[in-house]
Each structure stands twice: as C-alpha cells, then as structure tokens.
C-alpha cells in the first residue's frame, strides 16, 4: 500500500538534538524511511584558528571541542605537540593528567546517560547525574579554577600541581560515586520500559561499526574489544590495571551498559592513581621564574615557555577520549605556529552511521540511538 511521505526537518533547534544537529527525515507515518543528518551549525573554524595561534595559544580552543570532557582534548593536542617536539614529562604530571582524564570520563558518561534518559522522557537521571557532576566540577575547580574549559594540561606537564586537600576530596568523591552508580542502575536498569526502548534498537554489527570508523564505547558495544588505553598505551596506562568493557549485542542497550561499566572502571583507575602517585611535588611556573626556554625542560618541571618552535615534521597522535578515538594531526614547519592542525573527532566519525542505524525505526528510536552514540556538536562540527 502506498502512502504519502512526510518530510520533517528535525533541528537544528530541537530539544533532543544535543545542541544543533539537524536531521532531514523522510517519514512514512511514524517510521523513518530516510534520515539525512545535516551538521555544521556549530562549525567555528577551529582548525583554521589552529594555524593562526601559537602552539600554546591553541590549547584553550581544544577545550571547546568536546566541552563535556575537555581534559582529554587538552591532552590529545598536548601529546601531539610533545611527540613533535620530543618533550619528556615528569611522572607525577602524567599521573595528574590521567587522574583528570578519568574524572572527566565519569563526568562525560554521566551527562551522556542523563541526556539519553532525558530524551526518553525520564528527567530524573540527569538531575541526579548533575548533582554528582557538580562534585567532580568542584574538584576541577580546585585544580585549575575552571569548571568546564580548563586549559590545564600543558606541554611538559600540567599548569599547576594539585593543591592541598585535593586528594581527600577526591577519595570522598570516589566513595560517593560508587554508591551513586548503584542508584543509577536501580533507577534506570531496573525499569522494564527502559529495556523495551533500548534492546534491539539501533543494532550494528562489529564489522559494520569498524567499517563506519566507530570508536570508543559505541564500538565496544558492538563486541570489538578495542581500547587505545590498552592496545596502544600512552601515558601511565600500561602500569594501571583495568579491563576493557565490551558487550556483544551492538544495540542501544549494550552501548548504555558499556558506559555504565566504564564509569566503574574509571573509579578503579582513579583509586590506583591516588595510591601510586609519586610524592615529589612539581615545580610550578612561579617558582621556576620566567627565564626563556632553552632546550628541553627539566624532569620535574611544569614550566613551559609561551613561545617555542618544535622541529619541522608531522605527527598523528590519538588517545582514547570518553567518546572514542580523538586524534590530532599536527604539522609543524619549524615556526612558532602549527602549519596545519587536523582534528579527528570521535563524535564526527560516530555520527556517520546514523542514517543506516535508524532506517526503518520510529522517530523515538532515532532519539534513543542518537543518544547512545553520545555526540557533542562542538566535537562534530569543530
């Protein structure tokens, strides 16, 4: 039976597009016949700005890519620059970096799960989640004075050493969070309607997911055991004990569960980081003085000059950000500014699969599937 098609423009201003994504939908009644994502409504030209700023000036802009989890963005760029310039980082600084990144992973997953549930119509989870997120943000504030956009990780270390009283508060947070995750599971996972909405929706096989360039929890939800922290280790991850959370089903529910498990793993990592952190304090910028940079910085320094010139060359460096593989391709021509900065953002590549993922599903499933892919439009559009 033929029926009239309905063309719907969903977004860019729509409550469940996580910002400014837009979907052009061809609908047959309630079913989606074709979904065409239109992106670029938050395209801010970050890559061009990267060419116009010095290496250090560009770090704040990386904060604003994936603004829910900014530390990994900082780190990914700084890691690329460090590899390019061959800079050694003191061990304590690496521990602090991992600490911030794992905290940020928890924050990211809280927001991700919360907004997924909000899109499904249950607003309570995001309210609860933001309560715990606020505690984490207070920790970030102690570290660097900012809540969301940090500019904290610098080449050669971090901007400041962790302040006094940070570790006890962190321990408190970890202890609290353990209980809260159980709460979340009871609230969400014990709900039959949630299972009805999530299971067997937006199924993608591991092979297809790889073909689409999926990474991160979305890929691990499809049964591909892959985590850059484990299989292309960087920083201090080789010394840490954690497991990669994988689910076989490849549906929305699997992706949700992977995020839940990763939060627990991150807590586990945080505890190890706190226990094993080297005691030697980092020398801060003020103590180091403002002498100009000559050669590589000393091993216990967080100091790094404002202007420096790495040797000419190019590097592609990737890390496991909360949303997936975040890569920076930095080309240096031996001047104070990068010649080209290319950002490989996880959200952008994960969003590619949306049209095939939601074909034939209902409009409510589009929202559920989109929510489990967990994109941030700043990261997609750059």
């Amino acid at each position: 039976m033929e029926s009239d098609e309905l063309f719907i423009n969903m977004g860019p201003v729509h409550p469940s597009t996580h910002g400014v994504a837009r979907f052009k939908l061809r609908m047959d009644g309630e079913s989606i016949k074709e979904c065409t994502p239109v992106i670029g409504y938050l395209h801010r030209g970050t890559e061009k700005i990267g060419e116009m700023k010095t290496y250090l000036q560009f770090i704040p802009y990386t904060d604003r890519l994936d603004y829910i989890a900014a530390f990994p963005n900082n780190y990914a760029y700084v890691k690329a620059v460090e590899e390019l310039a061959g800079i050694e980082v003191p061990l304590r600084a690496e521990y602090i970096r991992v600490l911030t990144m794992e905290l940020n992973r928890i924050v990211n997953h809280i927001v991700s799960i919360g907004s997924l549930l909000m899109d499904l119509g249950a607003a309570t989870m995001i309210m609860w989640g933001f309560r715990e997120r606020e505690n984490a943000l207070q920790l970030f504030e102690m570290l660097c004075g900012a809540r969301m956009t940090f500019n904290y990780i610098k080449p050669g270390g971090v901007r400041e050493d962790i302040p006094d009283g940070f570790i006890p508060k962190l321990n408190e947070f970890i202890k609290d969070m353990e209980k809260r995750i159980v709460d979340y599971e009871q609230l969400i996972n014990g709900n039959e309607i949630f299972h009805m909405r999530m299971k067997n929706i937006g199924v993608i096989s591991g092979k297809d997911a790889v073909n689409y360039g999926w990474t991160g929890p979305t890929l691990r939800g499809s049964g591909v055991d892959y985590d850059l922290r484990k299989y292309e280790p960087y920083s201090i991850y080789p010394d840490l004990d954690f497991k990669v959370c994988v689910r076989k089903e490849g549906d929305s529910y699997a992706r949700f569960i992977v995020r839940m498990d990763e939060m627990k793993e991150s807590l586990h990592i945080l505890r190890q980081v706190v226990d094993n952190m080297p005691a030697t304090k980092l020398i801060s910028m003020a103590e180091y003085g403002i002498s100009p940079m000559t050669g590589t910085p000393t091993a216990v320094s967080t100091y790094f000059p404002r202007i420096f010139t790495p040797p000419a060359g190019e590097v592609y460096s990737r890390i496991e950000a909360p949303k997936g593989e975040l890569g920076f391709y930095v080309v240096s021509d031996g001047t104070t500014k990068p010649y080209r900065v290319k950002i490989r953002s996880p959200s952008f590549c994960n969003l590619t699969a949306i049209p095939s993922l939601v074909k034939g599903l209902k409009i409510g499933d589009l929202i559920a599937a989109f929510g489990t892919i967990d994109v941030v439009l700043g990261d997609v559009d750059r």
């Binding site: 309905l6 063309f7 719907i8 729509h14 409550p15 469940s16 309630e30 549930l117 909000m118 899109d119 499904l120 119509g121 249950a122 607003a123 309570t124 309210m127 609860w128 309560r131 609230l187 709900n191 309607i193 949630f194 009805m196 909405r197 209902k362 409009i363 409510g364 499933d365 929202i367």
Partner: protein, 382 residues
C-alpha cells in the same frame, strides 16, 4: 440539630441543588425569594441562578485545584530530583501558578499565518470545556454533586471522548508537522485506551447494577469482616490496574505522553499555541489529571465513603460532611501523587509499543476481567 439529622442519614439529598435549597430554607430566606420570583412568573430563573452559582463554585474550585496541581507537580518533581522547585514567588513559591497565569494573559496571541484561524481558536475551548464538564456527575462528598445522572459513568466516558477531537483540531489547524503528528498519536492512543478503560468500568457497573456514580459510591460503603473496606479495588484488582493504566494513557502523561513528547515532537499538538490558548491546554491537562484521578477514586477506592465511619459516635456525626469531602480529596491526591511520581521515574514508551500493549494485552485482559466478573456474579460469589 437539623444538620445532625441530615448527615446521620435521616434526610438525604440527591444533589447540591437540593442541599442549597434546604440550607436556604433552613435559614428562612428561600420562601421570600421564591415569592418574589413567583410574582413575575420566573420560578425557573431562580432555579437557573442557583445552578449557575453551583457551577461557578465548581469552576472556581477546579481552577484553584488546577493551579495548586501545577505547583504541586513542580514541587514533587523537584523533590524527586533533589531540588527545591519554585521558592521565590510567594511562600514556598505558592504564588507561582498565579504568576504564570497572569503572565500568559499578557502574552501576545499568535495565530500562524497559514493556520486555519477558526479551528485553531476553537480547539483550546473544545478541550477546556469538556475537562470541566466531566465534573458534573462526580460526587465530591455526600450530597456534594451537581447532578446525579443515572447514566453518570457513560456521560463521563462520552465527555472524555471529546478531547481527541479537540486535539485533532488543534494539531490539524496549526499547520505544523509536529502538531499533526502529535494529534494523530493522541487520537490513536485515546481510541485504543478508551476501550480497556470502558471495559474495566463496565466490570464495576456489573457489580453495582447502576451507572450512577452515587450508587457506585454507596455500594462501596461499609466493610467486610469489620476491617476490609468494601472498595471495588479488592473485588476488581485487575480492573483497577487496567483502569489506572488506561486512564494515565488517556491523560497523556509519561510514560504515555505521546501527544506532547517533548524530546520527539517539540510540544506535540500545541506547538504553535501561545498565550492564553496555551494556558487553556495547560489548565485542561491538569483538570483532566484531577478528574481522572477522581473517577479512579469513585470507581475503585470508595469515593467519599470512609470505611469505619459508622462506628463514630452520633454526637460527632456533624463532622461527617467534612470527613467525606476530605476523604475524597485525600484519596484523589494519592492517585495524583502516584501519577506525578510515575512521571519522574519512568521513561516514555514508543508509540507502537503503546498500541501493542493497548490492543494485544489490555483489551483481552479487560474482556477476561469482565467475563470473570460476570461468571462470579452469576455464581453468586459477589
């Protein structure tokens, strides 16, 4: 003295009209007024005036309740979500609904350029008035009923069936695709859930043998074995659950809020409405919530009847009218609180899942329940 006689059951009134006439008589002013009207041959005018006064009182009561409900909803949501809710406007934010109302009166009233002006304007009235009309055969307390229709229950179900038409009008006239989809969803949902609703109600009618709401309530007074109240919830547990689910679906609240479903359809069928017309939808929604909860209470929870009232000493019998009204309101608010609680806890279902459950589970179960009731009734168990 007379009041005592009245409430102990010596004098019963069919409805509030008779109650008012009785009170006027008791004070001694009914006859003079009646004579004045009789002089001009306008006895019917007095009758109309009294009925209008009743309706005005009801209207004011409903509006106040609805305003209170919006405040309560926001407070309940806030408490579940670890927040405060409205606090600044008035004590504990109690003036918030008043402020919202005044503000909405002062808003610009937009009619979209391509909308069907008449239908667009008519729809909010058509949804608001039936929401009030439903209250006419509802007993708020002993003798506190506008009109005890002998087809009361049928009337309620029939009047409730007007709202899908109004929603369809609103959705169609708005000339907005989201509105239209919301309207179509609402109609599909209402049609499929009115059937189990009516079937569950018929099971109750089988027990009482009457469609009159007063008869249904009086049939539920008293106790079994002295401690179980004779409420139909104990005779019809399945019927109660079916009726509750179906009425929440008919109200269009989470988990069944497809007509609105903010994250999918922006604001559903009233996307294009602004100002006072939007306020009418808003008020109608809460009036509906109150009326549906009241019907649930009337049918299954004994209405205004209080189980152990017969054991009250005769000297305190004067308290019975207050107790009966209070009992009714408290029971209704329990159901309302349940609906609000549900809204904060569960996610929304999907439209096809909803219809599946409606047609494939609810209706067969309701029919089964009806059959079982009929058999047990014939066997003489009830």
């Amino acid at each position: 003295m007379l009041f005592l006689a009245m409430w102990t059951g010596d004098i019963m009134f069919e409805n509030t009209y008779e109650l008012i006439v009785f009170i006027l008589n008791f004070i001694g002013i009914y006859d003079p007024i009646y004579n004045v009207f009789e002089m001009f041959g306008l006895e019917y005018l007095l009758r109309i005036i009294i009925v209008l006064a009743e309706i005005a009182a009801l209207f004011v009561f409903i509006l106040l309740t609805v305003m209170f409900l919006t405040w309560m909803e926001r407070k309940v949501v806030a408490m579940v979500q670890a927040r405060y809710g409205p606090m600044v406007t008035g004590p504990r934010g109690l003036l918030q609904p008043v402020m919202d109302g005044v503000k909405l009166i002062g808003k610009e009233d937009i009619i979209p350029a391509k909308a069907d002006r008449w239908v667009f304007t008519l729809a909010p009235f058509l949804i608001f008035i039936p929401a009030l009309l439903v209250f006419i055969p509802l007993p708020f307390g002993e003798s506190l009923i506008i009109s005890d229709l002998n087809v009361g229950l049928l009337y309620i179900i029939a009047i409730s069936a007007i709202s899908p038409i109004a929603i369809l009008m609103a959705g169609w006239a708005s000339n907005n695709k989201y509105s239209l989809m919301g309207a179509i969803r609402a109609v599909a949902q209402d049609i499929s859930y009115t059937i189990p609703l009516a079937l569950a109600a018929i099971s109750v009618v089988l027990l009482t043998g009457s469609l009159s709401t007063v008869d249904i309530v009086t049939a539920q007074s008293g106790t079994w074995f002295g401690f179980i109240p004779k409420w139909f919830i104990f005779l019809q547990p399945l019927g109660f659950i079916l009726f509750l689910i179906a009425s929440i679906a008919e109200m269009g609240r989470i988990p069944f809020d497809f007509q609105e479903s903010e994250s999918e359809l922006v604001a559903g069928f009233f996307t294009e409405y602004s100002g006072m017309k939007f306020a009418m939808f808003f008020l109608a929604e809460y009036a509906h919530l109150f009326s549906v909860s009241a019907i649930v209470v009337t049918l299954f929870l004994g209405g205004w009847s209080v189980p152990f009232l017969s054991s009250i000493p005769a000297t305190f019998a004067v308290l019975i009218p207050i107790i009966s009204l209070a009992a009714f309101v408290i029971k209704t608010y329990v159901i309302i609180f349940f609906a609000m609680w549900l809204r904060d806890t569960v996610p929304r279902m999907r439209i096809d899942q909803l219809l599946n459950i409606g047609w494939k589970i609810m209706i067969p179960l309701a029919l089964l329940n009806l059959l079982a009731t009929a058999i047990l009734l014939t066997a003489g168990v009830f």
